[in-house]
Structure formats: structure tokens, C-alpha cells
């Protein structure tokens, strides 16, 4: 299976290097990442334009768990600046968020204030355990935490939308030494332009979009809410591409599938790889066998913690920076 995938990969590269662009991509990592980025943004744009409702469900169901694994891999496992104590310190409040969502799925009530409280606690612990210039980051965190705790429902809605953009920010930060400024600028400009075009071109919402519009864009008119939903779907797909393709590409050389599996085993252990494979397949399988919307909702409910994880690790890394 893996050998076949690698054979296919070799064939694609052989075809690619016949072109000038392909040869440039083969020898220049920055150009390769740009090509990958433009390709993925293009696919996300087309899918978001043609079938946003479909993408809204298929995206999290198919790519949700793998992107979560990439999230954990690059934020925790390969993040050597994150200490073991910080890992456990951040995980504790996030575990409470997972518990809240699990209980909600089992028929309990949503508690936005508790979730925001635990999320802020994770960020506070991360800043507290960082060794560097903590004060400015702490001030900024408090400045954001106060309104978030005052309006927790609004804060969670904002997090859902901002979360997709956070991935872009993380990629920009982490790729500054491997991807040229011009290529990063071209990527960001393309994403911004595609977002504007989608927002402008989105028509009226389909009949079955009402729950999604009211969930992701409460208080807006149907048309304005639908525009926001389409933008959300597009940026969600872009953020999957960033975690699954762009961040790994910015981290190292192009790798064979065999080498990728070996590296995954290195990062998560043999049993960890089995768990990753089982859970990655379980969600799409559940969507095929049962109700895809339910599979998506269950996945999103459990995955909510990773939005806070990203903020906490960003805060930790920012607070851990020392004076030059």
C-alpha cells in the first residue's frame, strides 16, 4: 500500500520536473510551499464556491482528526520549547473543556462561561510557566480575557471564526526562515483575495442552511450571515491545508510516504500511530454508516479544546521569548 503510494508520488514528480515550474519546486522549498499553498487555496476556493454546505460537513469529517493530530504534533510533540510541566499544565483545563462538551453531547447544557473560563485558565497557566518576558503577554491576555468572560457566547463565536485565521498566523510565524517573504505575501494575498471574492459572490442561503447561519452568524440577515458562513467554510479548509501540508512542508524536505509513516511513529510511538489511524478512519466511517451531521458535531464537540490549545501555546511561546 505504502509502496504503491510512493510509486505514484515518484511518477507525479517525474512528470512535474518536465516543466520549468516543477524543476523550480523540486530544488526550491520556498517555491514548493508556494505552489502547494496556491494549489490548496484554489481547491478550497472552488469547493467553497460550488458546495459550501457539503464542504462544511465533509471537511471536518474527513480532515478533522488528521489536522488535530498535526496540531498536537507541531504544537506539543515537536515543540521542544514547550516543557513537560507546561504540557500537563495546559492539558488540565483543556480536559475540563472536553468534559463539558462530552456532557453536553450526552444531553447536558452548554456552559459558555465555564468553557471560556477553562480556556483562559489554560492560557494563564501557559504564560505563568513560560520563562521570558511574561508581563506584556499577560497584559494582552487579561485585556482579551475580561471581555471574553463578560460575553462568553460571543467569545466562543469569535473563537470559532478566528481559529481558522490563527493557523495562518502560526504558519507565517513558523515559516519565516524557510519560505521567502515574497512567497508568504503571495500566499496571504491569494487567501485574502479569495475570501473577498467568496464573500462578494455568495448568493442567498439554501433552505437547509438556516441552523448553520444562525449558529455561525447570529444576528445577521440571511444573506449577510450566509456570506460569513461561506467565508468560514473556505477559511476552515485553508486551515486544514495549513496544518496538514504547509506547516509540515515548511518544516523539512519532501518526504516519501514510507518516511512520513516512520516519522509519525517516531513522534507518537507505534501504538500512537494505531490510535491515530483508527480515530482518523472512525469519524468518516461513522459519517458513512450513520448521520454525517452527527459525526461532524461529535468531532467538533471533542475538538473544541484545540482552539484553546493553540492560543495557550502561542501565549507560551510569546511569553517565553527573551530580550534580544
Amino acid at each position: 500500500m505504502i509502496s504503491s503510494l510512493d510509486a505514484g508520488r515518484r511518477w507525479v514528480w517525474r512528470q512535474a520536473v518536465r516543466t520549468r515550474t516543477g524543476r523550480t519546486c523540486a530544488r526550491d522549498r520556498s517555491a514548493r510551499v508556494l505552489a502547494l499553498a496556491l494549489g490548496h487555496v484554489g481547491v478550497a476556493f472552488v469547493l467553497a464556491a460550488l458546495g459550501p454546505m457539503w464542504l462544511l460537513i465533509a471537511g471536518p469529517v474527513v480532515l478533522g482528526v488528521p489536522h488535530l493530530v498535526a496540531d498536537l504534533r507541531y504544537l506539543i510533540v515537536r515543540n521542544h520549547r514547550l516543557t513537560a510541566a507546561a504540557t500537563i499544565g495546559i492539558a488540565a483545563p483543556l480536559a475540563a473543556i472536553a468534559a463539558l462538551h462530552a456532557m453536553q453531547l450526552a444531553g447536558g447544557r452548554a456552559d459558555a462561561l465555564a468553557e471560556v473560563g477553562f480556556g483562559c485558565a489554560a492560557i494563564a497557566i501557559a504564560i505563568g510557566l513560560a520563562a521570558g518576558r511574561r508581563a506584556p503577554v499577560a497584559v494582552l491576555a487579561v485585556g482579551l480575557a475580561v471581555p471574553a468572560l463578560a460575553w462568553p457566547e460571543l467569545a466562543l463565536l469569535a473563537l470559532a471564526h478566528v481559529h481558522n485565521v490563527v493557523a495562518i498566523g502560526i504558519w507565517l510565524w513558523w515559516s519565516q526562515h524557510t519560505v521567502s517573504r515574497a512567497h508568504r505575501l503571495a500566499t496571504i494575498s491569494t487567501i485574502a483575495l479569495a475570501t473577498l471574492v467568496l464573500a462578494a459572490a455568495a448568493g442567498s442561503p439554501p433552505a437547509d442552511a438556516a441552523p448553520i447561519v444562525s449558529g455561525l452568524a447570529p444576528g445577521l440577515s440571511d444573506d449577510a450571515g450566509w456570506r460569513l458562513v461561506v467565508v468560514y467554510v473556505f477559511l476552515q479548509s485553508v486551515h486544514y491545508a495549513i496544518w496538514l501540508r504547509l506547516i509540515p512542508s515548511a518544516h523539512g524536505r519532501p518526504s516519501t510516504f514510507r518516511r512520513s509513516v516512520a516519522m509519525l511513529r517516531e513522534d507518537f510511538g507505534a501504538r500512537g500511530v494505531v490510535v491515530v489511524a483508527v480515530v482518523s478512519l472512525a469519524v468518516p466511517l461513522a459519517a458513512c454508516v450513520g448521520d454525517p451531521r452527527t459525526a461532524r458535531d461529535v468531532y467538533l464537540s471533542f475538538a473544541t479544546f484545540h482552539g484553546w490549545l493553540e492560543l495557550a501555546v502561542i501565549a507560551y511561546l510569546a511569553a517565553g521569548r527573551r530580550r534580544a
Binding site: L72, T87, A91, A95, A96, A99, M103, A106
Partner: protein, 110 residues
């Protein structure tokens, strides 16, 4: 006769009082909040109503918001929900400890 009148008077007075007595569903949720478990269901904000004779003798129905026990659509009870929550928390916390352990910094001391 007087005794009969007294009994009738007591009964006629007690009917509206009985109407103010919380129903078993309301009683099950006394001191609880919406979403808390109650016997075989969960407390939910619903409409309670009662009918009383108005000034013209006709029945007037009053409605108000009240918390009462409704059969849970989800099969899990409060304890079941807590158990599910604890499992989810342990999975995530266990993952955090495992990652910390794999980082090789926080190795458990035997």
C-alpha cells in the same frame, strides 16, 4: 348540617390551594437548575399553567415559566453524563501526561 357546611367550605377553599401545590414534576426540580438531572429526566424551563375562576365566574388560564422535570430525550442520566465527562477529561489529560512523558523530561520516578 353545620358540619356539612364546614366541610364544604373547607373543600371549596382547599381546591385553589391544592392548585398552587407544585406538581411532582416541579417538585423534582426544586432547588435545581435547568439541565440538572431529575428522576428519569432533566429539569427544563417549560410553561406551567393553572385555571381559576375569574371575576365573571368563567375559568381563566394563567401561564408562567417554570422549571420542571421532563423525560430526557438523551438516554443518559445525570450520573451517566458525569461519567462521560470524566472519561473525556481523563482521555485528554492522559494524552497530556503521555505527551509530557514522551518529551522525556517528566519521566515518572519509580
Amino acid at each position: 348540617m353545620a358540619r356539612v357546611l364546614v366541610i364544604l367550605a373547607v373543600l371549596s377553599w382547599s381546591v385553589p390551594v391544592l392548585a398552587d401545590v407544585p406538581s411532582p414534576e416541579q417538585e423534582a426540580c426544586m432547588g435545581k437548575e435547568v439541565g440538572d438531572s431529575c428522576g428519569g429526566g432533566e429539569c427544563a424551563m417549560t410553561k406551567c399553567s393553572r385555571a381559576r375562576p375569574g371575576p365573571d365566574g368563567k375559568l381563566e388560564t394563567m401561564e408562567w415559566d417554570c422549571v420542571q422535570c421532563v423525560p430526557s430525550t438523551a438516554s443518559s442520566t445525570g450520573k451517566g453524563r458525569i461519567a462521560i465527562g470524566v472519561v473525556a477529561a481523563l482521555v485528554l489529560l492522559g494524552g497530556g501526561v503521555w505527551f509530557a512523558y514522551r518529551k522525556g523530561i517528566a519521566r515518572p520516578t519509580a
